[in-house]
Symmetry: D2
Subunit: 353 residues, 4 copies
């Protein structure tokens, strides 16, 4: 019952098979092999973006930081939500890669920023001329860190604010697949067709060992992106092993099917927990992440049964025992339906309500 | 006949098997799994360094840059050879990760720096007080970029210069294994026992898909190293896949056996080419890299036979046809003896002498 | 009637005379002249801090950024108020000089941060281990950007939070003199005796042409501070001209007397405006800055009379005419009492109430 | 007898008078006063460059670093001589301001780089694609650090190499005035008319207290230059005091007359020392700097007479007494002719030859 994170599970068998196949003979290094070209081409095809600059890196932080550094001058500021991964979980990597840019926080609603809040914050940054940071890119996370999903209309509305102020729009798509599966739209619709200029396209949380794609939909800064990847120490000599993961992932909709499975498990978990009297969802789960307020007895029972997930706030000991705990649970593509059911059963049995 | 680089060949079968084994079930992310601890422990054991800080990253540039940034303040300078990988092939990554430190070049002899040259350059940096950069770490490459190997006495002599000036000594060990196999010494002898304070321990060029270890032999800056790895976007969520490569590599001397094979192939290649009248070694090959001046006819024949290697200077067309070309050939652990023999046969047959 | 800023007025005549005196003959450059030593010594004497590292720079942004870079590793975050000058008005200079550190904002109350708010924000930054930025220095502004002044007890309470978490405390003292004059305490009491570790000691806003002192009360990082000043391009070759300003400033309490005059003018302005029906102070003015909500008719009359100050929000045209405007007025040491009286007279005459 | 540096002497009386005049009444801060506009306009007029971006900073390191950061991406390298001030004397400031760019050294001849040497070094930087740094700006120092002066033809020849490779040309003109006076050409001829794109125009070494101009002759990056100045902590609130120095300096050719005087004193010094048997010029002095090999007895006598200059190599004690010492002498605009004569007399009297 492992719900700690979608980076705890195994890689997909098709990915491992592809790796084994790629491990034969010799190949040009540094992304110049046929396999590299094939995987990049496949991503362009899936996104209907034949001109996109596409480069593979090994961590989401790398994808986000290298893209943002390419889009953001060091005297500018990135607009993002106050719970954005780039703000909370990357140990200043965006500030580092950009050479000292700032992050300006937009208060989130349900894990997402609204066009209104964005416009207010961007507007407020305007009056200081040379004294304040200049306005730089806007970054949104899809699916969000709170497990919610921007609708296409919401993305478009945000991109309109960006266009109004002449700012590029970046999407942190560590869980792009989960959001796309949820919306039932195409990859293009959820990205450049809705005004997204640059994308961190995640694979690691959805069945790869460790590959993300840094994508610029326009070709203007393609070479700079490559240089920043190299300078950022993310140009792999044996890049073919990244491509060997990304290629099957993008083929036959594996990325979408895997994400859909994770979303389904999360929906089952949501339904199960929602029927428990003392349990309450903190956000409406729309992808594969669930935040729930749990009665302490429920958490205790789950914990003793070996279930794994993070407490987001509260502690089992030493606090008001009537206060519920806030737990985050994440479903991986590989979680079996039975594990979800078993988890819910334990929770239900322990419910004091 | 693939001699372009030791990053063109496959990963070792034992490494792939270990990856498959690691791909079962769930594991704590971000380097907190049992497998991670085991692989780190194994490296400490191999190096007889129970207190060493050990972290895995995916590229040699990352290992070098993160270590150097940990050792070098931004107002200092790194002393390295004028053909060092950190100077020539990392697109300013050391300058980037360190926040703007300088690299001060020491003229190489046969790819290596001498204690005398180092002392002269370090001394010359002394007279400018606050105006010049301050002296920072010394970095040497073992085996060197020219295929030569520092003896233990040479390393110790350099470390004495470091100690004299109070400077830490870093070893870029992208081909540490090849050098260690050549010298027939222990890993500890070739590193901390000879005065090396920090090591980039390579795996990628010797049979891994993409793993290097960043090692600080003293524990003082262990936490800073971790933070700089994270900030440098090289903390893998699924770190277990790096550990799964490093563990078999370090077990049963696989790292040494693989390197020894590569060295042997290079020695065979050296012997074969040396018997060809017009061919001359540019440096004495001591590990798995060979630089040779080739007659144009020899290069032409090899090229037409599909042999792959880089020309370091000269071009086939448009130059004085009597001038030899300078070629670099690198042997991978996986190169079969027969391929080397076939290569030499072609070269010999084409020799105009 | 110039109330736009305390950086609009002239330098004090004693300062100009000192400059003229200093402009005779030859002096060692780069801060090595007798005059430099004398001015540094004078500052140490005034602060009763014989071991303090003291260096002069030309802008407040330089003093803040060089100090913060010395105190804050690039993977750390600086805690400051959400209206701090270092956050709003330095175009990312602290992020730049620190190599990419973050600023974490503490909500202000009346321009100041409270120990409670600081503790809450610092505590919240604790749970992410290597993923979040590490806790770095705390920076407070005295007098604050809103014209309020921390009491000694308030500074001490903040420094206790710092000590609890092991964080250094920086004071942006661009208007240190105004605050010190207000509190009637010694420079030492308002700084290191209350737990302040580092100080940007302002002169430019209080009668100098352009000199601030970067002060570390402990000697541990004195040399690093010098190197960061040089690397930050703020080591003046003709440093004697900075010292020639600072020396008379610190002599015979000129700094305090000038600040006291500015404070008095501001108090007169406050009293005058407070008697006008529609006018309301946004913050309680305690030094030489005043924020007032003005009826539009009052602003219009002042504007037409040529009075200069900044509107902080609202515009004369195109808004609800019943809404008051928010204006900031700053008194310089040189503002004559008559100008304040004239200003108040115009405002009173225009008051619609 | 103060020949240590041209930053040891006083500011010109006209400059001080201008400062006193500027110190009346109130002025808009941050470079928005009438005086600021006047001084910027004057510089554009002197350079016949009505579109130039012109900003004043307080140190030469600031001018160089802010300009180079504007011209050089962090993944590029600056080409400069191996004795360039930006390489040797700025404590990594160019690396810092540029976000980690590299400096690639071109061997100097008589303190200057030749078009041939530049072309060779720039060409050698070409073969590494994404692995090496990309080619960035070329920077030359006029007059050079060795006291020599590029002819207009030499500057043009270098700018042709720049144009060939598409690289911008920066001139470190800390002693621009001395070189211009030497050549007897116009400021425009020695800069943009000869292909210079950006200029650090020095004032501090030629009679100002501390002002340099950062000049971009093309307007394309004017706003970025301003932002980098602010972020680099060199936007003065009381900028009028910089302008008040620069305005008289540029009026009535004061800058040229002062430099010509310094050059004349240096020529007298050169003539005088050249007549001494054991003394030999290390470089041909063409501006106001002189490097001379001095017999030890001569140095001893000068030293005992209180003459001030730097020994560039050698020490009075503990070396082979027959070896001459290398001394650098610099003439300031303010050095009286009699002091030069007295200096020469002492030297001549002590000459053992």
């Amino acid at each position: 019952m492992h719900f700690a994170s979608d980076n705890s599970g195994p890689a997909h068998p098709e990915v491992m098979e592809s790796l084994l196949r790629a491990n034969a003979g010799y190949a040009m290094p540094y992304g110049k092999s046929d396999l590299d070209a094939e995987a990049q081409g496949k991503l362009r095809e899936v996104f209907e973006a034949p001109e996109a600059a596409v480069h593979f890196v090994a961590t989401g932080t790398a994808a986000n930081s290298i893209i943002l550094a390419t889009l953001c001058a060091p005297f500018e500021t990135v607009f993002c939500s106050d719970v954005a991964h780039i703000h909370e979980d990357e140990c200043n990597a965006p500030e580092f890669f950009s050479g000292g840019a700032k992050l300006t926080l937009v208060p989130h609603e349900n894990g997402k920023i609204t066009p209104e809040a964005l416009r207010a914050v961007v507007s407020a940054e305007e009056s200081r001329g040379v004294h304040g940071p200049q306005r730089g890119p806007v970054s949104i996370t899809q699916a969000s860190e709170k497990g919610t999903v921007y609708t296409l209309a919401e993305i478009r509305a945000i991109s309109e604010v960006c266009r109004e102020f002449g700012l590029p729009l970046h999407m942190d798509g560590a869980r792009f697949a989960n959001a796309c599966a949820r919306l039932g739209c195409t990859a293009a619709e959820m990205s450049w067709k809705s005004g997204v200029d640059a994308l961190s396209f995640g694979g690691t949380k959805n069945g790869l060992m460790g590959v993300e794609a840094a994508v610029l939909f326009g070709p203007a800064k393609a070479w700079e992106l490559e240089l920043r990847r190299k300078r950022g120490a993310h140009l792999f000599s044996k890049n073919r092993y990244l491509s060997a993961q990304m290629l099957p992932y993008l083929s036959n909709d594996l990325w979408l099917h895997s994400a859909a499975k994770a979303n389904e498990r999360c929906a089952e978990l949501t339904r199960g927990l929602s029927q428990i009297a003392g349990t309450r969802m903190a956000f409406q789960p729309e992808a594969n992440i669930l935040f729930a307020h749990l009665p302490r007895a429920v958490h205790k029972a789950l914990h003793e049964a070996g279930a794994q997930y993070y407490l987001w706030s509260g502690e089992l000991e030493g606090e008001d025992p009537r206060e519920p705990l806030l737990a985050r649970m994440v479903c991986d593509w590989s979680i079996p339906r039975e594990k979800v059911a078993a988890f819910v059963d334990i929770a239900r049995a322990a419910d004091p309500g």
